[in-house]
Structure formats: C-alpha cells, structure tokens
C-alpha cells in the first residue's frame, strides 16, 4: 500500500502542504489541516511535517493521483510510494546527500539536472539511473 513518507531534513517549513490540504474540503485556506501539520521548532532550527493521512486526497489537484501535498512540495521532503520503493528512494537520497551538498536542501528527484557521482563518467538521472 502506498503511503506518504517524510524526509524531515529536507523540509523548508513553507507550509504549502498544510495550507493547500486545509483548502481541499471546503475551499478555505485555513492553514490548519488534520491530515498534515508542519511543526515549527522554536529557533527555526527544524520544521517537522507530521502526516496523518492515507494519501487519498479529498480531491487531488493533480490528474495522476499524487496526493496534493506530495506534488506541491518544492524540496521533495514528501514522497508517496510503496514501502519497498520508499526504502529505495530514501537510500538514493542519503547517497546523493553525501555526494553533493545541494542535496542537503533538495531531493535529487526534484533537481532538474542529472549529476555525476565521483568516479563515474556518466551522469545519473534525478532518480538514480545511469544515463
């Protein structure tokens, strides 16, 4: 079963997920959703998306079935996957993060350009395949 997974380190605290989610039932941007809440830690040090949702959007704004929050997340802190795939994605992220410092701030699958790992002659696509 697909679920929404969170990479806490990538969350920039923009609250786009929470704001849009709050509007889906009644068209009101209240910024308070029961399904997702970005907890702000005082001192701005951490932003933690707390997800309480099965990923079935009340009404997704995307045609491909992605949950609205996942599709809108600018950094890739949220992703929607089966558990096995989620583990693989997370591994990709952790590897990418060690290889290039921009991936401390954005997930490789959100970055539009391929990158080349040290020692490799060919670049990798945002999802890790050698291209």
């Amino acid at each position: 079963m697909k679920r929404i997974y969170v990479i806490e380190d990538l969350c920039s605290g923009c609250r786009l997920c929470e704001t849009f989610c709050s509007s889906l039932p009644h068209g009101v941007f209240s910024g308070q959703s029961e399904r997702i809440h970005v907890m702000k830690v005082p001192g701005e040090e951490k932003d933690v998306p707390m997800v309480h949702c099965d990923g079935k959007c009340i009404r997704s704004i995307f045609d491909d079935g992605r949950p609205t929050c996942v599709g809108l997340c600018p950094t890739g802190a949220l992703y929607f996957a089966e558990q096995e795939r989620a583990i693989q994605v997370r591994r990709e992220y952790e590897a990418a993060r060690k290889e290039h410092s921009i991936f401390k701030f954005i997930a490789p699958w959100k970055w539009p350009f391929p990158w080349r790992r040290p020692g490799e002659k060919k670049a990798r696509s945002p999802m890790g395949e050698v291209v």
Binding site: D9, L10, S12, G13, C14, R15, L16, T19, F20, S22, S23, H26, G27, V28, F29, S30, G31, Q32, K40, P42, G43, E44, E45, K46, I61, L72, P74, T75, G76, S101, I102, K104, F105, I106, K110, W111, P112, F113
Partner: protein, 648 residues
C-alpha cells in the same frame, strides 16, 4: 472558525500616544484601484502623512500591509512596510516570512501605527483581542533574544512576530524590522520609525481562514503560475541555480565580467581565489545546514540557515546568504574569509542593522582612511584598510554601530551624513542615492540598474525592478508583447550597455513589480515570462478576489502605485535633481573593462525617456494633469496645488 471571503480590506489603527485602537473598513473599490499591500499602503501614506511631517514624530504613521492574496499559496507571506523615511522620501520595504497570512487570519489586512508610546511597548494581536503591552524587559535585546523572550511569554508557537533590534531603538540609519530571526524589511527607514515610536515588536495570531472567491479557478490559475516558477518546468535558466545555490552563485562570474564592486567600487573585479572562497559552493559545502522558506514558497531553497563548524567563530549560527553579503562584507571591504563574512552579516541580523548600510559605509570609511581623510584618532585606533583590518575590532564595531558608541556613532549615520561631518571631499567616495546606500549591483555595466537606482523613490532598491539581469528575450515575441500593451524591443532593451529603451524597460519593470508586490507576492518569483506577461497574476487575482477587471486595468493599478510613490516625493520637494547616481559612477570609468561612467549626458538621456514614457514633467517629475486623470488620481491635483506644486 471565521472565514474571510470579502473583498473589503480592513485597517487596524493603533495610536501609541493615547493607546486607542480601532478598526476601519476601506472602501471595497480600493481592491480594484490599488489591489492591496504596497498599493494601499502608498495611498494611505499619501493621504495621511502630510508634507513636512517629522519622520520621528508622532504624526508619522507606520503601515504594515498585507493584501488580498496573503494567506493563499501565492502571497508568500509578503508584508509591505511603509512610512515617511527619515531621509524625507517615501519609505517602503517588503518582508517575507509568515506574519502577513497570520495578520489576515486574525481579521486585518493592515496595521497603521501612529503616535508615540511614552515607554517601550509591544503590540499583541489575537483575532479581536488587541493589546498594547509593556516591553521594558525587551528593550535593548537583540532580535534573537527578543524572539526567544516573546516566545517564552506567548504560549501559542504559531504566533508570528516582527521586532526591532538595538539599531532601530537607537535610530541607527537604515535599521530594519526583523522577523522569523532572519527575515528583514524596511531598510528605507521603517525600522528607525518603529524605534522612534518606542514600539519593540508586534505579535499576531489569527485563527480564521481565507476563502478565495472562486476556488476551482484559483487552483487552475495556480497550476499555470506554478509551472512558470517550478525549477523543473520554468524556462528561466536562472531558476534552479539561483533558488538552490543562492544568489552568491554570481560572485566569480561577476569578478570575471567586471560587475563585482571591490574596494568601495574603485575597481570592479576581485581576486579570483577570494571570490571562490566566498562562493555559494563553499557556503553550501561547509556552512549551510538547513533550507528555509517563506509562507508557501514554491522555490525549494532560497534561504538557508548556517553554522560555523570550526575555528575562531565555531558555533556561530545565522541565516541567509544573499547576493548582497558577498559584496557588502566581502569584496567591497576586500575580505576573502567566508566565516568572518557570515559572522558580520549574522551580527547585522541580530542587531537589526542593514547590511548595505554597514557594508557601504565601512567601505567609504576605509577609502577615507587610506586617503588620509580619517585617522586612527577617528576610528578608535582601528587600522581601517581594505583587506587589512583588525578582525576582532571589526566584529566589535557591529555592536558599536548599533549602540552608536565611539567610531560606531559616525558610521551609524550612514555614509551620506557621515561624509558631511568629515568633509574634505569624502562625499565623492560615498555610494548612496537620496541618502540611502547602494545595493550591490553594478551600474556602469548595467544601464537599467543605473537608471533604476537613480529614480527609485525609496532610494536604491533592486526589488523595484528585479531581476537586474536580462532574461531570455526569446521567450516572448514582440507581437505578443504588443498585445499585452508592452511596446519594447527586448533585444535592444536587454542590451545592458546600450542606453536605448532603458527608460521604457525600467518603466515596465517598475509597474509590473509594483503589481506583484501589491497582490502581494514575491518579486523573486518574477521568473520565466512572469515579469513580461502578467496574465497569470491577473488570473490568480481575479479568482482570489472576484474583482472583475480587465487586463489593462490590472496593469494600470501598478502604474498608479508608481505614480503615488513619485507624488509623495515631489510633495516633499524631490525633483529631477535628486534622481542621480553616486559620484563615483558618474565620474569614473570602470578600470580594465572599458565600461564608461554614467555621466550626465548618458543619464539625462535615459531620464528623459523614462519621464516621458511615464507622462511626467521632465524637470519637476510631477505627473501631468492628463496622466493623473488617466490614472483616476485627479483628487490629488488640489492637494499638490495647495502645497505649491504646479501640475502641468
């Protein structure tokens, strides 16, 4: 939960002299005429702050303005802060963060603060509950300390704060208003005015919701907007690089092409090794550890928190490394140490100092010192030379500027006023316009920037015409542009060293950015064609508010705002003579690169084109009667004439 879906905008009025608080509803048509945020602030300021008002007096009013799109995912939490500047001009600055949406959820669009409190206070707003509270215990605290102290006494962690640091309390030139620790705004004088009112902070929490007029249309319009700014779909080549690496990505490019202000802009290129040392890659690799965003920003990583991991400043933490810092604390004072640079700019955030003021005033002082106009007797014994200054004394100097102590007292005036005190020709080295220090963008190689700096009503402010660098002219055809009412040959207009079309280009950039800031949204999102084709913004605005206006009326709202800013200044006595570039830019060519100075002949040609395109008198810069009628601002003619200003 109460829900706001009306088009009517509301002002919370607070008089700090007598403690009276009231709520006023603005006429509904103002949303049509002025949009909101910066637009409404400009009209309120013109009407309510009369000519000759003492900027530090109780009659000056400090406005915090949101707008109809704040609280929705395109408002980006922008907040327009406006008042009369201590330099006599209109003062307006935009700040990001989360304060704007919270204010709207509390039921207000604007806070207008007049009067002057007898002792330090802060304003607490929670829906209908509005209190002026004692801030004696907060006075003198840095911005970080204030944030911690207020969060300790206000239980709800989602309360949003705006506060000033010691710099604004002491009326230091260009002091800013801070929030979310590292977001600042209002460098044109708003921080000083807030300090003069003894207002330490504003705290706001709202529990309401914001309902767009037509939600489904809003979502469809949002998708189009998002496609233009999303780094994977935007056709703007700078989008991914700029939003992820950050603006310092340009430091080495700039030094190669002669755009990097170095040693008080006496040269425009720097040591490549030093430029590399302060580059974005070094910042991301060694210092940055977390991305931060303003409310609902679709850009992944515009802001970042940093921490210094080792060395003398180990453990120092701060936020944001923008385009200005590599110059103001790097090349312009010839400092090639990124850790020191981050400490100096971090201290500016903590004291509530403006980095441009501090950087450019320091570089002015260094040049004066090297030329013998300042001595060790003036500088508290500091050897103040480019690239060879006492590091500890420099760090200490930040606090001295904020507290106006010793040599800091002179620097706290800004280079314009300080050079009047020092005299001996030192004003030639001061890089300021209308009393406000430059921002770190080259003028002699980017003529639209030179013109923009000269004519900006608030003093140098790149957000009025952002971005300063040409975007891809192939994204939109001349025919499409003409259909949109923009008569520009982009290839000519984007030729940075050709003065032709710069007046028309700047006019369009100023109008379009005025619209963006009035919705409000963030000018850093003016990517792809969003600064040329305003229709995506127009769709969003109509869906959000239900205001039925055609595209021409929407664009005219931006032009109206630009004229209101100009009208405020001309009423205060500003005219063409004040629209200048700094002495160095108008009298010295750029060494080694062949870029000529922006002399009077060159500037005057561009000014004529700009004023004529705007329908302004070429000498007084007063908008003509015909232009004011076209904009629906006829009512201002009488006021101008009462104040002795001739309207042609």
């Amino acid at each position: 939960m109460k829900t706001r879906s009306d088009r009517e905008q509301r002002v919370l009025r607070v008089n700090l002299s007598d403690g009276k608080v009231s709520m006023e509803r603005l006429p509904e048509e103002w949303t049509h005429i002025y949009l909101g945020s910066r637009g409404v602030n400009a009209r309120l300021l013109y009407d309510e702050v009369k000519r000759g008002t003492d900027p530090y007096g109780p009659d000056n009013i400090l406005y915090f303005g949101t707008g109809p799109m704040d609280g929705m995912p395109v408002g980006m939490g922008r907040l327009s802060i406006a008042c009369k500047s201590p330099r006599g001009t209109v003062a307006e600055g935009s700040a990001g963060g989360f304060f704007g949406p919270e204010l709207r959820r509390a039921g207000y669009d604007y806070v207008a603060i007049s009067g002057k409190a007898e002792k330090p206070v802060y304003l607490f707003i929670q829906d209908e509950q509005v209190e002026i509270r004692d801030a004696g215990h907060l006075w003198g605290l840095t911005t970080y300390e204030t944030d911690v102290a207020l969060r300790g006494e206000i239980p709800d962690p989602d309360t949003q704060l705006r506060y000033i640091g010691p710099a604004a309390e002491n009326l230091v030139h260009a002091a800013v208003i801070m929030g979310n620790l590292n977001s600042c705004g209002g460098r044109a004088g708003c921080g000083e005015v807030m300090g003069s009112k003894n207002l330490k902070a504003i705290a706001v929490r709202g529990y309401g919701g914001i309902k767009p007029f037509d939600y489904d249309s809003f979502v469809e319009a949002y998708k189009v907007f998002r496609q233009r700014v999303d780094i994977r779909t935007s056709r703007d080549m700078w989008s991914p690089v700029w939003t992820t690496y950050g603006a310092p990505v340009l430091s080495r490019l700039f030094t190669d092409i002669g755009n990097l202000m170095t040693c008080n802009a006496s040269v425009m290129s720097w040591d490549y090794e030093k430029a590399t040392e302060i580059s974005c890659e070094r910042f991301l690799d060694n210092y940055a550890y977390k991305s931060k965003s303003c409310y609902c920003c679709p850009l992944p990583s515009c802001q970042k928190l940093y921490s210094i991991p080792s060395g003398k400043y180990r453990g120092f933490k701060g936020g944001n490394y923008w385009a200005g810092q590599p110059i103001t604390f790097g090349s312009i004072i010839d400092n090639g140490r990124l850790d020191l640079l981050l400490v100096l700019s971090g201290l500016c955030n903590q004291y509530g100092l403006d980095v441009f003021h501090v950087g450019f005033t320091l570089s002015w002082a260094m040049e004066c010192f090297e030329k013998g106009l300042l001595s060790k007797g003036d500088t508290d014994g500091m050897e103040l030379r480019f690239g060879a200054f006492d590091e500890d004394a420099m760090v200490e100097l930040m606090g001295k500027i904020a507290r106006k102590e010793g040599f800091g007292e002179l620097l706290a005036l800004g280079c314009t006023e300080a050079s009047k005190i020092i005299g001996k020709g030192s004003e030639k080295y001061c890089l300021s316009v209308k009393g406000q220090e430059l921002e770190a963008i080259a003028e002699r190689n980017l003529l639209m920037v030179a013109l923009g700096v000269a004519v900006s009503e608030v003093g140098p402010d790149h957000t009025r015409w952002y971005p300063p660098y040409p975007c891809n002219p192939n994204l939109i055809s001349k025919e499409e542009l003409l259909d949109l009412g923009v008569d520009l040959d982009l290839r000519l207009a984007f030729d940075t060293r050709n003065p032709e079309q710069k007046g028309k280009l700047l006019r369009w950039f100023t109008i379009s950015r005025a619209i963006v800031e009035s919705l409000p949204s963030c000018v850093f999102l003016v990517r792809d064609t969003l600064g040329l084709d305003m229709r995506p913004w127009w769709y969003l605005f109509r869906a959000a508010t239900g205001v039925d206006m055609d595209y021409g009326e929407f664009v005219m709202a931006g032009e109206r705002l630009m004229n209101l800013d100009r009208l405020f200044n001309v009423r205060e006595g500003f005219a063409r003579k004040d629209d200048r570039v700094p002495y160095r830019m108008s009298h010295e060519d750029v060494p080694n690169f062949g870029y000529k100075k922006v002399d009077d002949a060159l500037l005057n040609g561009m000014l004529d084109e700009y004023y004529a395109a705007n329908g302004w008198d070429l000498n007084t810069t007063v908008p003509t009667r015909k232009k004011l009628a076209e904009l629906g601002l006829e009512d201002i003619v009488d006021d101008l004439e009462v104040n002795g200003i001739e309207v042609g």
